[in-house]
Structures are given as structure tokens and as C-alpha cells.
Symmetry: C2
Amino acid sequence: MSDALTPAPRLHLNVNILHSGFIPSAWRLPDADPQAFIDVQHYVRVAQIAEAAKLDAVFLADNASIVEQIDFRPITALEPTVLLACVAAATSRIGLIATASTSYNEPYNIARRFATLDHVSGGRAGWNVVTTADPGSARNFGLEGTPDHGQRYARAGEFTEVVKALWDSWEDDAVIGDKQAGRFIDPGKVQPIAHRGPHFKVQGPLNLPRTPQGYPVLVQAGGSGDGRDLAARHAEAVFSASQSLDESQAYRQDLHARAAAYGRGPQAIKVLPGLATIIGATEAEALRRRDQLIDMIPWSYSLNRLAGTLGIAPDRLRLDDRLPEDIALPAGGNGNHTFFKATLALAKRHGHSVRELIRALSGGGGHRVIVGTPEQVADDIERWFRAGAADGFNLMPDALPDGLQAFTEGVVPILQQRGLFRREYEGTTLREHLGLARPAGRHSAQARAIAA
Amino acid sequence: MSDALTPAPRLHLNVNILHSGFIPSAWRLPDADPQAFIDVQHYVRVAQIAEAAKLDAVFLADNASIVEQIDFRPITALEPTVLLACVAAATSRIGLIATASTSYNEPYNIARRFATLDHVSGGRAGWNVVTTADPGSARNFGLEGTPDHGQRYARAGEFTEVVKALWDSWEDDAVIGDKQAGRFIDPGKVQPIAHRGPHFKVQGPLNLPRTPQGYPVLVQAGGSGDGRDLAARHAEAVFSASQSLDESQAYRQDLHARAAAYGRGPQAIKVLPGLATIIGATEAEALRRRDQLIDMIPWSYSLNRLAGTLGIAPDRLRLDDRLPEDIALPAGGNGNHTFFKATLALAKRHGHSVRELIRALSGGGGHRVIVGTPEQVADDIERWFRAGAADGFNLMPDALPDGLQAFTEGVVPILQQRGLFRREYEGTTLREHLGLARPAGRHSAQARAIAA
């Protein structure tokens, strides 16, 4: 029921469809289908649950190689834009955010594919802009090693500028379709971009009219200085990783300050930290579920994964000892800065042993995990939101679809009662859900008037 | 109704969804929606009509720049793999063939996206392998000019080999999903491809399990020597262009001979010439429809297009004269060989003036056009099929969806009565529709046994 007296809800919730769920052992639960990771109906089902609860968007990660230990767990397999096109056909309102790498694609192709997703979904597409650091991906694209962190981000920045220019290469009203006069498109409203930069030469225009949202929502996840700068320039939603409220507050403030330097106000960027949830009717039940899931993950797997995040050899980790003292960001700067910092901060704050740290991470890769009742989860979300530590969250349920169902049935109604979350969609596009302005288009009469 | 006594039908019919239809003026018909070219529901509707008539597949062309005269007609706009994923969600049997260029993509990305389309559609994907020759596309991907014909085909051949190897990098039974033992994938059944060639270095494996069809159906459209050779090595269906039965017979025989040299039998390649149709209840009505459509195309547009096909300046064409005598394939070999040859042959055979030639092509780009009653169209199809000039056709209705509806309601029942075309789908995959074997997989026990 919509309540006209409730103040406009501003909290945003996406769900990250990590195949069987956030916890690597989720596929081993009694109700789980091990084939879910390659079953389009699994993704459709999760998206429909999310849409019924009025969530803002579903989110799909991506890789360009096998980065997981396949003997123990599912992998990121289906290509996200094709998969989300199927999800678009089976839903009507929920946003659709797909990850695509700037390291191993061409901007023309990415501009075209995401614009297509925006057209076919009626304005629900988002692009999560990433760079790809793993050496396995480099070897799938003709390189012997990964370009270093600065190079990757320089390419990503120019890549994003080219994509935005291509999205703007058609004015909104370029398609005339005048049957009597035989005029189909006004060529004066379709302009080349003539981009000449250090990484790309792209003439344009795009071979596709401007999209329902003007262009897809730009999402980013940078934790490093380069990453934050890319986010400040271009991102409209940021999928961040913070283990504590203080860290997340500081991150959000830093991002707002950086964005201001590019003339962008705080409303232009939504900060959505990752939040893994393990929910039970009682706290004890939630903890039992956590332990059941953790006990199904081999310790060798978790040790390898933690060592990977920290950029050290697995044999330097002892389950009952604390982390080695001398851990530093891997040389060349090619680690995942966000997860590295968040993991180290968590271990230091609690004085965790390696075993306790892995348990606190629930076998995960650096995102915050909360274990508790729907009330406890809602309290935590409200606390972060009211403290200005987050504009919302990128949810990572322990297992899918049931972990999401526990959230939408248990937590969402509480957030709605507290006036924090919508009861109905107010708009039809992802931009409208997120409260983001529709870009005017750099060639439009409006944009020309503003510039004049 | 299925009839057990009817011999297994072998004729194959795809429909090429050229936005509003084959004829450039189709968008100006009274019932046409000028926005159809960017409306996913238009493509879904056409595919559903095709599926109801038990056609083999829908086919989508693609470009990497604007190659059309946008002031007069719609363009190829929506990216085909994303668009066909939506069509997959709204259909259950019909095949889904998308074009993607080997000139401006990376094999790892193409292998992944088409394998995803095969997974989400339950085994209905096909990849139309093309090279891209237009200078506008080159300028969208950092090049000043187009690589020459031979270079493009050398890249295309290696590209296709890499894609096939990636599709074969997982054995069919690599995913175990044993919850008790905690074994998810058998890493011994997922192999790198370690490809090192002149154009590509790709380590593999693909980050996606083997698909329902083994791999998507490989489609090709080569008319040049290089193109025919690529088709002979890899193609399972060929979208050819022939203006006469003799040409098509000769083309099909040549392709079978070339394929035999690679150890491939004639059953392994289906030759499907393009066939544009303009259908009326009487021949006079069909001709009136043709003239109505032609009269809505500006002559300047048709002259430009014909000049482009022939690689000459438009001012060398006079409407009431024959073609200039000295026309030769454009230097560098970057014309469309298929359309060039077909157009020249048509003009010579009939002694057409330029005006007559444009009328015979219905403003089209080199494909054969047939104007007549359903009976006449069915007779023509049967004649070509029985003469061994075609295994079926890639249909290009004059306007969509109504031109397809005229075909499925008028022509298909006649072909079914004559025992030439299926009344029900016998299988669920595109390979099954086309009568193509499922590839065994180069690492499978079966393949190893054959090799031993």
C-alpha cells in the first residue's frame, strides 16, 4: 500500500545475484540446484522476488577468465548483458546493472550493447565500469601480463568518456518517422564524436538512437585513489566495500569532495556498500545457519582466497595465528584495493585470528557480513543510512533465492514501516528509482542553452 | 497436425528480421510503426509468427557503424545478441542467429556471449561469422582504413578456430555438483586451449560450461574465394545470394567440393540463399504492392545504394541507360563480392536499364526478389530445392510483420501439403531443426576414441 503521508523514501537496495549466493558453499544447501549458475530461470526468479519487493536493481558481476576455484564452487559464467536481456523480458520495473570491463573491450561495442539493453528494458540498464586485473584474463586477450593499475584506470577513464560521448551522439528527437514526407531521421541531430585520445580513436556516431534513460546509469566500485577519481568523475552509483560505519562515512565524504571538484553535487552519486546477509528468525538460528554454511567450505579454499585478497602466499597463513605483520598492497598495485583494505581493517579492529577472520568474512571476499534477525538487519541498515554512511546497499544474500526471500519478507516490511523504503515504484526507469537526473544530452537545445 | 507418413521434411526456412522489412520504404506503409526498428516487441512479434509457422530460425544482420542513408530509412540499430536474448525469453523453439564481426571483436568475448545465448535459449543460438569492410566501422575502432580482404579473412579464419576451441574447452560432463563430497566441477574436464597464432594469443579455457548444442551453429555468408573457403572449413549454414537457379546450383556444388577437401560431407553445410518476397492474392496485386513500395523510395537513394554495391560513383549511373561496361570489383577487394556479382549478373542476363535493375532489386542490395502469389512463391521454392540449388532459404519479407504473415499463412501451408516443410518441430535445438550433428567436443572420451 502506498502511503501519501510517508516522506519520499530515499534508501536504495540492489541485489547482487552471485549465482547460488554470497557464501561459496551455498550450492551445497539441501534446496539448492548446483546447475543454478547456468540456469537463466534461476536469475529470473531472483529478479522477480526483488521486483516484488520493489528493490532498485539487480546487479551482475563479471570476469574475463576463471578466477574461482572451480573444484569447490560455482563461477561467474553467463555473460551479464545477454543474461539481463532475458531478465528484462521477464520483469517490468526493476533496474538491470551489468558489469563489463574497460580493459578487454572496445568502447563502441560497449556503448552499443548497453544502449541496446536500455532500449529493450524500457530504461532500466546500468553499466558497472570495471578494470580487470587478474593475469588469467590478460592471457585470454593476447597479453602476457596485466597492465599496471594506473594504466588500467587511465584507459578506463578515457573509455568511459568515449562511451558517454557515443550515447550522446544522437539527440532525443533525431528519429522523425514522417511517412508523408519520407523523412526518417534528421541527420543534423546525429553527430560524430571525432574522439582522438591516447587510448582510443573513435569517430562515431553510435549506430543506435538515444536511449529511454538518455543513457544507462553509470556504476563503479573503486576503492583506490584512481578508482575514487573515476567514480567522482563519472559514477552515479558506487558499489563500495566498507567493514565499519566510520570507514563508509569517510569514504562517502571523500567521494563527495572529489565529485564536487568536477562540479557534481552529492545527489549525483549514490554510495551503496556491499552487505552480505545471513538471516534467521532468531539470532541463534542465524548463527547456526552461518556455521552450517562455513562448515561446508574447505579451509584450504578459504585460506587460498584470503591469501589472494592479501596478495601473499597461502602458506604464510596459520589458522590459529593472527595475520602476518608485514602485509602490504601487492607490487604493481594490481590487488583489489577495496577488499585488501577492508579485510586488513577488520582483522586489526577485532584482533582476529585467521580462523576468526575467515568466519567473520563468511568465506567471502572483503564485504561486510551481518548475521541476525530481520529486526537486527533493519536496525543496522537504518543506522548506516541515518549516519550518512550509505545511500543504500548492494545486498549479497548468503544463498539464492532463499536468502533474498528472507530479506524481502523479513527486512523490507520493517524498512517500509519506518518510512525508509518505497512501498511502490514511483517511476519506471532505473534513474527514477535511484533519484538520478536524466542527462540532457550534450547536443540538445537545452544543453546548448546551458553552455551559452 | 503431424503426419507420420509424410517423409521427413528437409527444407529449411529462416527469416531475416531487417527491422521494418526488406524494402527500404517499408516503414512508410500505412500500418507500419516507424519506431519498430528500436522496439523489442516488434522483433518478438515477428519471431512468434515465425515460430507459429515452425520456421527454423530468425536471423539478425549487424553493422559496426551507420552504413545506411538514415534520412530515408531505418538502420540496423539494436545489438543482435542482447536483442535475441529477449526474443529467446518470449519463444521456446525457434532458432536465434545473430551476426557478429570478427574484425572488431575479441574471440574470447564472442565465444562467451554466443555460448551464453545458447545456454539461456536452451540450445537455439547461431553465430553468423562476418568480416567488416566499411570504412566507417574502421574509424569507430581506431583505424584510418579498412584492412584488405585477404587480411580480414585470415583474421576471421583464426578467430573462428579460437572460438570453436574455447567452446570445446569444457567437456559436457565437467559440472559434477556433488553436494555430499563438495565437488563442484571436475578441473580435469576443463582444459586451456593455449592458442598462439598470428592474430590471437588466447590461453583459455572459457569461463562458461559447454552449451546445450555443444556449440552454437556456425553461419557464414561468403561469396568471394576467401569467403567460400571460410564457409567450407567452418560454416554449418550459409546465407548466400544468387539471382538465378544455375548460379545457386554452381555455388552449392563448389561449396560441397571445397568442404569435402576439409573432410566435411554435403550434409554438414546447409545452403540458404536470400529470398525477398512480395506476396499478393493475385500476381497483379503483388505487382501493385511492389510498385507502391518502390514509388516510396527516392531514386537518389536507390542510385546511391546501387553505386555503392558496384563500387562506382553515383553520377556514373543514368536511370534510362544500361550499367557502364567497365565495372570491376573495387580495388583492394573490399566490396561485397556476393552482391557485386549477383547484381551484375542480373543486369546482364536481362539487359536491364538502371531503372529496371533497381526495380528488379526492389531497392534491395543484391538478393533475389520474387513477386507473386503464394502458389508462385511455393513453386519457385520447390523448383530450387528439388534442383539442388538450395537446402532452404533465408527469407526477407518486403515488410514486417505483414510480409512474413503473408508468407506463413499463404506459402507455408502449400509447402507442408507438398511434404517439403515440417508441420511440427521434431527437436528443440537449432541443430536439430537444421539436421546438423551435435559436435562431440575435442576433449571428450568419444572424440579421443575416434582420434585413437
